[in-house]
């Protein structure tokens, strides 16, 4: 039997000892994060030692190269929209990492890359990412500073600006990766109307249906955070994906076990034990 009173006393004592350095009510969250970090380091170490980590084919990510290739063939620019959130949003920061890969590819193919941004800090990051991507490709001259454009800090003004670029400069490929809100469908439909091949990705689940409806390829939820691992096959990044999979399996098993236990105990009354519950359910 679980000693509830003893456990509460122990937790109170722990709280007194740790207070105020650690908020004991957040200890389970801290424990989960440390566990996640431990699994991540374990998976990364294995990946770096050469253990093969398979990664399933993601059509949306394969389509990135296809989209850039199409732009190159048509002699038209690639438009990269990094979402509308600030750099403190992890999706925006991740979008900068993907931008570096896209910039490397466009520099290799000699294709123009246009990056309109909504936030001035994101603009500084985007400039660095594009510059670095061009250097990675061995084409530092491919970086055109005027193609990383700050449009507006306002959502729909930015949206109108991007729609204007789609209509006037006619990019052959629109890559929209990052955090999007209500403007997602306006951008995706304008891009569709302009005839561009469109690859979109976000972890914001409310905007996913719009991208699925209007874009050629959509990178959904967790796939978004696998982009750099998928494109570079870097062992460290692959290890992170493996860690997420391991944690996901643990969570799925916990959900199933929890659901079964909750179902069994839903009818439990005082004095019931496992035997009576089993007999009531299956007897």
């Amino acid at each position: 039997m679980l000693d509830v009173a003893g456990t509460a006393e122990y937790l109170n004592g722990l709280h007194e000892q740790l207070h105020p350095w650690i908020d004991t009510s957040k200890l389970p969250t801290l424990g989960c994060i440390i566990a996640y970090a431990a699994v991540m380091f374990w998976a990364q170490t294995r990946a770096k030692r050469g253990v093969h980590i398979p990664i399933r084919r993601i059509p949306g990510l394969d389509a990135l190269d296809e989209a850039i290739g199409r732009s190159t063939e048509m002699g038209r620019p690639v438009l990269y929209v990094p979402g509308i959130d600030e750099i403190k949003e992890i999706q925006t920061l991740y979008s900068m990492m993907i931008l570096r890969h896209v910039a490397r590819k466009t520099a290799e193919y000699g294709t123009e890359l246009i990056v309109p941004v909504k936030d001035s800090v994101v603009m500084a990051f985007a400039e660095e990412a594009v510059k670095q991507g061009c250097q990675d490709a061995g084409q530092p001259d491919a970086f055109i500073p005027d193609n990383v454009r700050y449009l507006s800090n306002e959502q729909f003004a930015y949206c109108a600006g991007v729609a204007g670029i789609m209509n006037r400069e006619k990019p052959a490929a629109n890559i929209m990766l990052g955090m999007f809100f209500a403007e997602s469908l306006i951008l995706a439909e304008t891009g569709f109307a302009s005839g561009a091949i469109q690859v979109a990705g976000t972890a914001k689940q409310h905007q996913l249906p719009f991208f699925v409806a209007a874009c050629d390829y959509t990178i959904i939820g967790e796939e978004y955070f696998a982009v750099t691992a998928y494109l570079t096959r870097d062992p460290s990044l692959l290890g992170t994906i493996r860690a997420a999979d391991v944690i996901k399996i643990i969570v799925i098993v916990s959900v199933i076990v929890g659901a079964v236990l909750a179902t069994i105990y839903a009818d439990a009354g005082p004095g019931d034990n496992w035997s009576t519950l089993f007999n009531r359910l299956f007897g």
């Binding site: 650690i22 800090v121 500084a124 990412a129 959502q155």
Partner: protein, 225 residues
């Protein structure tokens, strides 16, 4: 050092903010507040970078006779005009009594009658609403394409969409003898919620992993080399 110092700063700031989340110590809250103040200052300064980028590119396109130069002229007039009106009103160069109201302390209170607010409420907001209202048409055109039953998955989507739409309106419910609202309820509560939660969970793990990699200094690709 050009790369190590930013990584060190990232790790230190990340750990300090993480500590502030998990701690109730006054010092952690003070460090967190200080870092956030610095962030606000950085963001404000960076705003000037954005404006300089906008003005530089616009002037270049105007001077080179770019086909879009007329839009750039409108943009610059709007930007500088609104900025000028704002500065003039704040410094009392425009008669505040004629354009706004003053409170008991003699401070200008901007309202709809002030030039600055007039421009915002009478020009900017309607333009913003116009952009937003385009969504209605785009939803219709996107739905038209998405609901074409060209594959089994598209057929499922069409059926689910039709059931949810019928279940949302009283007429649809009457026509289907109350079945539409019950099926809609089932679809939204179980199928849709399960799918959304799976996406949220996957995204949350990805976010956590990326956050950990940045805070611990493992992820460095966002920095130049």
């Amino acid at each position: 050092m050009k790369r190590e110092i930013p990584i060190l700063l990232t790790v230190l700031c990340g750990l300090a903010i993480t500590w502030a989340f998990f701690s109730q110590a006054e010092v952690s809250k003070a460090v967190n507040a200080e870092l956030l103040s610095w962030a606000i200052i950085f963001f404000s300064v960076a705003f000037l970078l954005g404006i300089s980028n906008l003005v530089r590119i616009s002037l270049k396109q105007i001077s080179s006779g770019h086909p879009d130069r007329i839009y750039k002229v409108v943009l610059l007039i709007s930007l500088l005009g609104y900025l000028g009106v704002g500065i003039a009103e704040i410094h009392g160069l425009i008669d505040p009594v004629a354009t706004g109201t003053t409170d008991s302390a003699g401070q200008v209170v901007f309202n709809d009658s002030a030039y600055q607010d007039w421009i915002y409420f009478r020009i900017y907001l309607p333009l913003q609403a116009t952009m937003f209202s385009l969504l209605a048409f785009y939803i219709a055109s996107a739905a038209f394409r998405a609901f074409r039953a060209r594959s089994f998955e598209a057929l499922l989507l069409l059926m689910a969409g039709a059931i949810v739409m019928l279940g949302q309106v009283p007429l649809g419910d009457t026509l289907t003898f109350d079945l539409a609202s019950r099926w809609q309820d089932f679809l939204m509560k179980y199928i849709n919620a399960a799918g959304q939660r799976a996406i949220i969970m996957g995204a949350a793990f990805g976010t956590l992993a990326t956050g950990l990699r940045i805070v611990l200094g493992i992820e460095r690709s966002y920095l130049s080399e």
